[in-house]
Amino acid sequence: MKQKNLVVAILVTILWILPVSGGMAANVYKIGGIFSVTGRASFLGDPEKKTMEMMVERINAAGGIDGHMLEAVIYDSEGDPAKAVSAVNKLIHKDKVIAIIGPSTTPTTLAVVNFTKRANVPLISCAAGIKITTPVDPWVFKTAQSDLLAVAAVYQQMKAAGIKKIGILTVSNAYGESGKKQLLDQAEKFGIQVVLNESFGAKDTDTTTQLAKIKAAGPDAIVCWGTNPGPAVVAKNAKQLKIDIPLYQSHGVGSPKFIELAGDAANGNILPTGKILVTSLLDDSDPQKKVLEDYQNAYENKFSGNVSGFGGYAYDAVNLLAGALKDSNGDKEKIRDNLEATKGYVGATGEFNFTPQDHNGLSPDAFVMVEIKDGTWTLLK
């Protein structure tokens, strides 16, 4: 009968987690955030979390929304779909938030949408995957540019540069895979031939094998699709192998960290990026310039470290949500409708025009092509 004690112990544990049910203060809008603050995708989640906290603070300092203060409840998904599901249920059912921002990565987003849809909670994802908004679900939006647009921007640039044959090298995770799919799918449209596609592990210490293989296939350029630190290793290895054809990177490395990691080897790399990286280089006429400067100053004053495009996704998500919260009285249905009706919001990522058919709402000009020269970004026209 010893096990009876054990059962009692389990019951006590269960009872102990029961009573923490969340009540909602009437004049506060609770919004949730799920980001990969730690784990593999922490480079995305960390600035997103910080930005969301900062933005909520700013909005509250300015008097909130229709007199309602915002309260942000943020959980870490660690990039793990199961943890993200836990977090989303906690947000919906325990914290009773009225809208959710995040998660940071495509798999975690795809895992949580099943739950937000069912609970009719609007979700603004910060992940890039095109699967999130195609097909469109009424309750799911996203602020990050799709890979579709990034690839289009890269191919446009290549076409202009007269590149016909490329070799692609993608990281073997969701980000790389989604990039690879777009690269292969759109190649024909731009008259580009993919001679070889290879992949590397996110934690690989060496990629010379793949590069040597690609080099042997004789492409005009190499496209590397990954997030730090992998592409920095690729850039270094390419330099060491004396590969002199252009190396294109993805928007996933669009942060000063990449230049720091790759050092000399970063020079000459070409990549699509949100405008935030090159704010100071933008024409004053660019409508985004003011927004970006504002965000950059605010972020860099508050936190050590550079602002990145990833934090920009959260910046836009909070602003879009704040806009939708106006006149919504906290009604989720109304928030959703307002979101879908958003037009002409100029944010850090680009100009958003949501429609019932497009829940990303960005156009290709959300990307600019940049080349790294002498350890800094230069705009390519």
Binding site: V7, L18, P81, V85, S86, N89, I92, L110
Partner: protein, 318 residues
């Protein structure tokens, strides 16, 4: 622990009542969902507990069967539109088949080599899932898993799914208990106490190990099925090496060679991260410390450790 042969023991009834009561009383989906995950993890732990606890075979690739279960049902019911319940049967069959093929040579290894063999197997399954994108959805995951239905019942997150999962957990616990109380179970416990002696009294230990390996794989596949139809989205990283380690940890923390140990281990390891959410950056440090402290001071696992503590406390009082 002696297992006597009366049919249902009181603690199973108490447990059943507690689980049902929780399901009826709690309306908060979050708690139900946590409990659902605990249930799924318990299934994984139960299988591995039988394997590790009784036959002494450590598997560092158990998540592979979890993944095989989840992906089989996802592909069959999601891509090909087969009835999910039928796909459950297929998922279990697939896991059983693969466990048989892999188990035959692998279980001849022992100690760290067995650990390495199972680890390698787990890695291979994970890579195949990730790279076979046309079928599995690759690294970005598999979308479009149908919701489970049975007649008028729709199993969505919440009480329905909770009862489904815990019903299966309860059944699995009874199966394990019956197994342990039977001829096969006695042979298993004999292997646990002394493998050489078990061979010497005529037990075909290799066959029995294989049987239990397959049994654990089948339970893992059921857990994978439940996970897939609960979250409705699966991606390879949920079934990787780290998760295999986590299942092993559940078993060891809970207490090996004990049905209740699997339950307790799954509960602790599922709840701990939830409780630690508030510590954000310090979560990993605390988690690692808890793991070490439990193992240092309660090497037999929490089940035994807590019972010993209660016993000493009781003795101190009298």
């Amino acid at each position: 622990m002696a297992i006597k042969n009366n049919y249902i023991r009181i603690e199973y009834l108490v447990f059943l009542c507690a689980v049902s009561a929780f399901g009826f009383v709690t309306e908060n989906t979050y708690y139900l969902q946590i409990m659902t995950f605990i249930g799924i993890n318990t299934l994984l732990g139960l299988g591995l507990n039988m394997l590790m606890g009784y036959t002494g075979q450590v598997s560092l690739g158990h998540a592979a069967f979890y993944g095989i279960g989840a992906y089989t049902t996802a592909i069959l019911s999601g891509t090909y539109g087969i009835n999910p319940w039928l796909s459950l049967v297929c998922a279990v069959a697939a896991a059983v088949f693969i466990a048989f093929i892999v188990g035959l040579p692998t279980l001849r290894l022992s100690g760290y080599y067995l650990a390495m063999g199972t680890l390698g197997f787990g890695m291979i399954v994970n890579i195949v899932i990730r790279e076979w994108a046309a079928v599995t959805g690759g690294a970005s995951g598999f979308v479009g898993i149908p919701v489970l239905e049975a007649g008028p019942l729709i199993f969505m997150s919440g009480a329905n799914y909770y009862f489904l999962v815990w019903g299966i957990v309860f059944a699995a616990m009874i199966v394990c208990r019956r197994l342990l109380a039977s001829r096969t179970g006695r042979a298993l416990r004999a292997i646990h106490d002394g493998e050489k002696t078990a061979v010497a009294i005529g037990i075909n230990t290799h066959l029995l190990k294989l049987e239990i390996f397959i049994f654990a794989a089948a339970l893992g596949a059921v857990a994978g099925f439940l996970y897939a139809h609960f979250v409705l989205f699966i991606s390879p990283e949920s079934f990787g090496f780290m998760f295999s380690i986590k299942i092993v940890t559940m078993v060891v923390i809970g207490g090996m060679a004990s049905v209740w140990g699997a339950l307790l281990g799954a509960t602790v390891l599922t709840l701990l991260p939830e409780v630690l959410h508030g510590f954000a950056e310090y979560e990993m440090i605390i988690f690692g410390t808890v793991l070490m402290v439990v193992m240092i001071f309660m090497p037999q696992g929490l089940t035994r450790g807590i019972m010993d503590m209660i016993r000493t406390a009781g003795r101190a009082r009298t």
